[in-house]
């Protein structure tokens, strides 16, 4: 293992920009996410040389080319596997995975699941635009039923995956949601970085060409108050300027929306958000938009020991007291010596 490097450094947004021309479509939500990340990095305070962005294939996966850090644009769906090898080779690196709904949940779903299950310390930003953009608009595993696309001219019939629910189901210890143009996205990113372990962030992202404004129903600034539930640890789950909240229907064991009269949320039974409550987290990721507001922010955050730390610990324990005597190792096993008088043990 390489020595741990935890160099903190004062940087500005400019320090995180490359000289490469950004090549997303004009108006793509990716621009906003890129800026949010570049704005967040100086606040996090890590050094660019100690930071690695790893991506798979897709529009989102061009991201590393625009970050003045180390970067690896890998192959479709496999970014988590590269990240795992890199982190085990050098646990001191700060690794960010950039993936999309097709990359991370379709072709790479298996790797996403296992990275989360193992709890590798990294940030996974899944840009969910509910479409395959780079291949020109086919429906994706998160597309809603009935999505018409070049490959589904009569509408898609399969049910969409829910990224946050998938992550939690895979054993995630950190699940958050944000969207491309949200001013609160940097706060979500910072919380993800502060979490030691696999931090999964679903970022709703507007594909202006193939799936335009598909998130407008909750992301549009107008009426956002009524449609977005921004979760804050220790705070009641309130939205619509405090006139509505989320409560538990204890009999049916599911969440419900309640009206809050005169700000008395306790009387309405509104739940206080506890980021370590896994049961509630399961309900939050399953909350259907429409009937409920969109749950955003940090839905769940309860760290556990990380994979790479456990591997390092086990490697050290197994090597304890042993010397790396390769010549000695070669002589192990069933050996005998041939002398002038013949072989002997």
């Amino acid at each position: 293992m390489n020595e741990m490097t935890t160099i903190a450094r004062t940087t500005t947004l400019k320090d995180w920009e490359t000289d490469q021309e950004v090549r997303w479509c004009p108006g793509c939500g990716d621009y906003a996410i890129l800026k949010a990340v570049q704005r967040t990095m100086p606040e996090i305070g890590t050094a660019p040389e100690n930071t690695v962005f790893i991506s798979g294939i897709g529009c989102s996966s061009r991201f590393p080319y625009y970050m003045e850090t180390y970067g690896f644009h890998t192959i479709h769906g496999r970014a988590p596997a590269f990240a795992t090898g890199l982190k085990l080779a050098n646990p001191g690196l700060d690794i960010w995975i950039v993936t999309g709904d097709g990359d991370g949940l379709s072709i790479g779903g298996n790797h996403t699941m296992h990275l989360i299950r193992r709890n590798l310390d990294c940030q996974i930003m899944l840009f969910n635009n509910e479409i395959y953009g780079l291949t020109k608009g086919q429906y994706s595993p998160t597309s809603r039923v009935g999505t018409t696309s070049p490959s589904t001219p009569y509408g898609s019939v399969d049910r969409p995956a829910q990224p946050a629910a998938f992550a939690l189901g895979a054993g995630a210890r950190f699940v958050a949601r944000g969207f491309d143009v949200s001013k609160k996205l940097p706060e979500v990113l910072k919380a993800a970085h502060a979490h030691k372990g696999a931090a999964f962030i679903e970022i709703f992202q507007n594909c202006i060409v193939y799936n335009k404004d598909v998130f407008e129903d909750f992301a549009a600034p107008k009426g956002a108050e009524d449609r977005q539930l921004w979760l804050e640890n220790g705070e009641p789950m309130l939205y619509a300027k405090g006139t509505k909240g989320i409560a538990l229907d204890a009999g049916a064991l599911h969440l419900k929306t309640v009206d809050v009269v005169d700000g008395d949320w306790q009387a309405a039974g509104v739940i206080v958000h506890d980021v370590t409550n896994r049961s509630v987290a399961h309900m939050l990721v399953e909350m259907r938009f429409g009937e409920f507001p969109m749950a955003l922010g940090v839905l769940y955050d309860d760290p556990r020991p990380t994979f790479e730390a456990d591997v390092v610990r086990q490697n050290q324990a197994a090597a304890e007291g042993k010397t790396a005597d390769l010549q000695g190792l070669l002589k192990k096993g069933q050996t005998w010596t041939v002398t002038e008088s013949g072989p002997e043990l």
């Binding site: 293992m1 390489n2 490097t5 490469q20 050094a47 660019p48 040389e49 690695v52 294939i57 590393p64 080319y65 970050m67 003045e68 180390y70 970067g71 690896f72 644009h73 890998t74 192959i75 496999r78 988590p80 596997a81 590269f82 990240a83 795992t84 090898g85 890199l86 982190k87 085990l88 080779a89 050098n90 690196l93 298996n110 790797h111 296992h114 591997v311 086990q314 490697n315 197994a318 090597a319 042993k322 010397t323 790396a324 390769l326 010549q327 190792l329 070669l330 002589k331 192990k332 096993g333 069933q334 050996t335 005998w336 010596t337 041939v338 002038e340 013949g342 072989p343 002997e344 043990l345």
Partner: protein, 621 residues
């Protein structure tokens, strides 16, 4: 036995050069035949014999007892001169049940000895083996010598004092059989007794029972009526250079060679693997070697295994992955990325019978096309093939050297036969190996940092993430010459494709030598990988008969040795025996326009010496 030099009725001749015996132990998967074979191998080593082994076991883990497909066999060829193969036809077959007899007796030499446990030849087992009548009781085995013993009963009697249950008592059968075999070949029992006592240190009664069974088998040989086919044979020691020896399987050879290679390169090793037969043994060996700066990672699939290894190489470790054909197929796309990003990587392919799942536990050499050509795009990659377990050690070091000195993935080919077979190995002195320490780029060089700038070998610099001042991005999209930025321009793609090809073509590999025979002549037998043994023996025999034939064995499959074309053209004829339908043959014909003729076998079994001899005779007609 095989000591006599004589012409047999069926025309099959014994080697005039070797005083060798081939014994095959065959039984049910649960009979412990691999263990018996392994211990008999050690006793052969201690008797000073040279040897080669061939474990042949079913793909099923616990095949139903007594069935034909559940038979597990272990063959050993040992002798007083150099042994290159596990032997063609056995001289002695030990058959622990009817199924083992049925599946193995056709291979036995005419006149060879069958030792059968008649206690297992009951109606039930005969039916399972699809025998209509008991072959021990009719004349169907007349062309062989038959010795039927109730090994089951004799074992039960021998271990009776130790109070074991029936099932446990019968488990000692293999030790009784081993005892008899030790007597037959005049072997010392003490090392086996020591081994049993150590193995069952926590269950002394089991140790005692097994030792008793071993002694009883030995005593049976000594005291039974010697008028029958049972005779004692002594095979003289083979001449061997003084020094320390050990038994080595190919999987051990590869694992140790990789560790040695990483040490010579002064790199930590990262091994990403996924369970697959017969490659898993390499993962098992390496996962116990943490103190050698080895990190092993059992990934979620074959793709993640190679991708994690590439990620580790990107981070400055020696990335290694390993699999067999189907898994190698899954890794193909990632190999292309390692080629594109020019990162070092070793990919071990323990070949098995294909296509698809094919024959998981049987051997084949049919992944050569896959290794040399099997990727999308113009994706050149060095390929090295090991010929034996001991050679696998050196080939693994060579693969690491090329990977780090040229910043390229390298494929190391071995096969199921090499992986499982054991041979005596003179333990090498590591100080005789030249180190090739890796130098990472750590600061901006004169003239500025170019991630895809090159040295005289066309190697690009290796920079570890975490290095200040050298931040850059890499990926699978075509790279711009020098800068490594994305570049789709036609001239740039031409230039980069040419560079990738020139880099691999320019890898320095040793000139091809002639293993046996001479440069030039009537016939060259050209092989690669595990066919070394049968080719070498066959050429040796034919040369002893005065035929003009030479053996050329290729380790560097890609790039090929610079002198190979000239060498092949110096022979009137070239034949290429391969356990595939002619893959190296195609490469040789393509590269050199030589009229290389294929000699093919794809039965999942290694070539016999006799088969190669026949091919030589045919070619020289």
């Amino acid at each position: 036995m095989a000591t006599a030099v004589e012409d047999r009725a069926d025309g099959e001749r014994q080697s005039p050069l070797s005083d060798a015996v081939v014994v095959r132990f065959a039984g049910d998967s649960g009979d412990g035949m691999q263990l018996t074979g392994g211990q008999f191998t050690l006793s052969s080593a201690l008797a000073g014999n040279d040897f080669a082994t061939f474990p042949d076991f079913p793909a099923e883990i616990r095949a139903p007892q007594g069935t034909l497909f559940g038979v597990s066999a272990f063959q050993i060829n040992f002798g007083s001169s150099a042994i290159d193969t596990a032997g063609d036809a056995p001289d002695v077959l030990v058959a622990m049940n009817p199924a083992a007899l049925k599946t193995n007796v056709p291979a036995l030499k005419p006149g060879g000895l069958i030792i059968a446990d008649e206690g297992e030849f009951n109606d039930r087992n005969l039916a399972k083996a699809k025998y209509d009548a008991n072959p021990l009781e009719d004349d169907s085995l007349a062309k062989w010598q038959l010795l039927k013993l109730n090994i089951s009963q004799l074992t039960m009697d021998a271990v009776k004092p130790f109070g074991l249950g029936n099932k446990e008592a019968l488990r000692c059968k293999n030790m009784w059989t081993l005892g008899l075999a030790l007597w037959m070949f005049d072997r010392d029992r003490q090392p086996l007794i020591d081994w049993l006592n150590a193995k069952f240190a926590k269950a002394p009664e089991l140790a005692a029972a097994n030792v008793a069974a071993l002694n009883a088998g030995h005593a049976y040989g000594e005291t039974a009526e010697l008028a029958g086919p049972l005779k004692q044979h002594h095979v003289d020691p083979a001449p061997a250079a003084p020094g320390l020896y050990r038994t080595l399987t190919g999987a051990e050879g590869i694992a140790l060679g990789l560790v040695a290679g990483a040490q010579l390169a002064k790199l930590p090793m990262f091994f990403g693997g996924y369970p697959i037969t017969p490659a898993s043994a390499i993962l098992h060996h390496l996962s116990r070697l943490k103190e050698y700066d080895v990190t092993t990672f059992q990934a979620e699939d074959e793709i993640a295994a190679i991708c994690s290894a590439i990620g580790a190489s990107y981070g400055g470790s020696l990335g290694v992955t390993s699999s067999s054909g189907p898994g190698i197929a899954l890794k193909g796309e990632a190999m292309g990325l390692a080629i594109m990003t020019e990162l070092p990587l070793v990919i071990v392919n323990s070949q098995r019978g294909g296509p698809s799942t094919g024959l998981p536990t049987k051997t084949e050499q049919s992944d050569l096309y896959q290794a040399v050509y099997g990727r999308n795009g113009d994706a050149p990659m060095p390929v090295i093939a090991a010929r034996s377990p001991g050679d696998a050690f050196d080939c693994a070091i060579e693969a690491v050297r090329i990977a780090v000195q040229y910043m390229t993935p390298v494929m190391l080919l071995t096969d199921g036969y090499i992986a499982n077979a054991a041979e005596p190995w003179a333990v090498p002195d590591l100080t005789t190996y030249e180190a090739f320490p890796v130098e990472f780029l750590t600061e901006v060089p004169e003239g500025g940092f170019k991630p895809y700038g090159r040295d005289d070998k066309l190697k690009r610099p290796w920079v570890k993430p975490g290095t200040p001042g050298l931040l850059h991005r890499i990926g699978g999209i075509e790279k711009e010459v020098d800068t490594g930025h994305i570049n789709y321009a036609p001239a740039n793609h031409q230039a980069m494709t040419d560079i990738r090809k020139a880099k691999i073509d320019g890898i320095k590999v040793p000139d091809q030598i002639v293993e046996l025979g001479a440069e030039g002549g009537k016939l060259a037998v050209v092989g690669w990988g595990s066919t070394f043994g049968p080719i070498h023996q066959a050429v040796r025999r034919k040369r002893a008969e005065g035929l003009d034939v030479s053996h050329v064995h290729i380790r560097h499959i890609w790039p090929l040795p610079a002198n190979l074309g000239e060498l092949l053209k110096s022979y009137d004829k070239v034949i290429v025996p391969e356990m595939n339908t002619g893959q190296l043959k195609t490469v040789l014909r393509d590269q050199y326009l030589v009229d290389a003729k294929p000699v093919n076998k794809v039965s999942g079994q290694p070539f016999t010496i006799a088969e190669i001899e026949a091919a030589i005779e045919e070619a020289l007609k």
